[in-house]
């Protein structure tokens, strides 16, 4: 089997777009000297080479909604855990939840693991082929996790 081509014009185009945007941001639009060009060229080649060959497409119009949901939940997560830490009685009911994994591997699963650890009271400890092991600080957080799975499925057009 031949090695799939990594430096196609399409991949280079997207890597170049990303590199130019990031470099513009880092240098406040002032960095277009020879060093800057060198950095952007290197970043473009590296990006096109190492980006996974197949990325699951995202529904772009669902992205702002997911972003808002994420900010809302992660702020609640921070407030919740700060409140628990500062209460004199420290209300904690640490427990494990083992859940079946429904989302496919790749982007959706990575996103699930990343977001779980920032949501109120949940933390992802283990991810095996068919199961997800979540540590929870309180009871009754399964509904939150179901909701998160539904939203990720919607974001990736999987439902």
């Amino acid at each position: 089997m031949s090695e799939p081509r990594r430096l196609t014009s399409r991949r280079l185009f997207w890597a170049l777009t990303g590199a130019v945007l990031l470099w513009t941001l880092f240098t406040a639009g002032q960095g277009w000297d020879p060093l800057g060009l060198l950095v952007v060229t290197a970043a473009t080649l590296a990006g096109a080479w190492w980006t996974p060959l197949w990325l699951r497409p995202v529904r772009w119009h669902a992205l702002p909604g997911f972003g808002l949901y994420f900010v809302d939940r992660s702020v609640r997560g921070g407030v919740d855990v700060a409140w628990r830490a500062l209460q004199p009685t420290m209300p904690l009911q640490p427990q494990w939840r083992v859940r079946p994994l429904r989302l496919p591997a790749g982007g959706p699963r990575s996103l699930l693991v990343s977001v779980i650890s920032l949501m109120p009271g949940t933390l992802c400890a283990e991810l095996v082929d068919d199961e997800l092991v979540v540590h929870a600080l309180a009871q009754g957080l399964d509904g939150e996790l179901d909701e998160l799975e539904r939203r990720i499925a919607r974001l990736y057009a999987l439902e």
Binding site: L22, L25, F26, A28, G29, S74, V75, G77, G78, V79, D80, V81, A82, R84, A85, L86, M90, L92, P94, Q95, W96, V98, V113, S114, V115, S117, L118, P120, G121, L123, C124, A125, E126, L127, V128, E131, V133, H135, L137
Partner: protein
């Protein structure tokens, strides 16, 4: 007015860092401590970045701060998962987590 808002956000952010650290010291085990650290620091850094962006008054700095927050968020949640996974495997893996 903007100054008051900015400093309010910065102080609130520092408060979250403080609460996260108190949680780190008070919570009973490694998993509960990770909750405190990751979640409180994420919100704390977000508020801090927001306050500093207002103080800086430059869209370039604001965008850079937003990017820093995003990258710290990503690094925080990934390292949290990796530490939790390591700790769980040390304690006997997921069989031990089964109710």
């Amino acid at each position: 007015m903007a100054l008051v808002l900015a400093w309010g956000l910065i102080l609130m952010g520092a408060g979250f860092f403080l609460a996260g650290t108190i949680g780190l010291l008070r919570f009973p085990n490694v998993f509960s401590r990770l909750h405190a650290l990751t979640k409180a620091d994420n919100v704390g850094l977000g508020l801090l970045a927001l306050g500093l962006a207002i103080l800086a008054g430059s869209p370039w700095v604001a965008l850079k701060l937003a990017l820093i927050w995003l990258l710290a968020l990503l690094a925080g949640t990934v390292s949290c998962h990796l530490i939790a996974r390591y700790a769980l495997r040390e304690q006997g893996g997921r069989e031990q987590a089964r109710p």
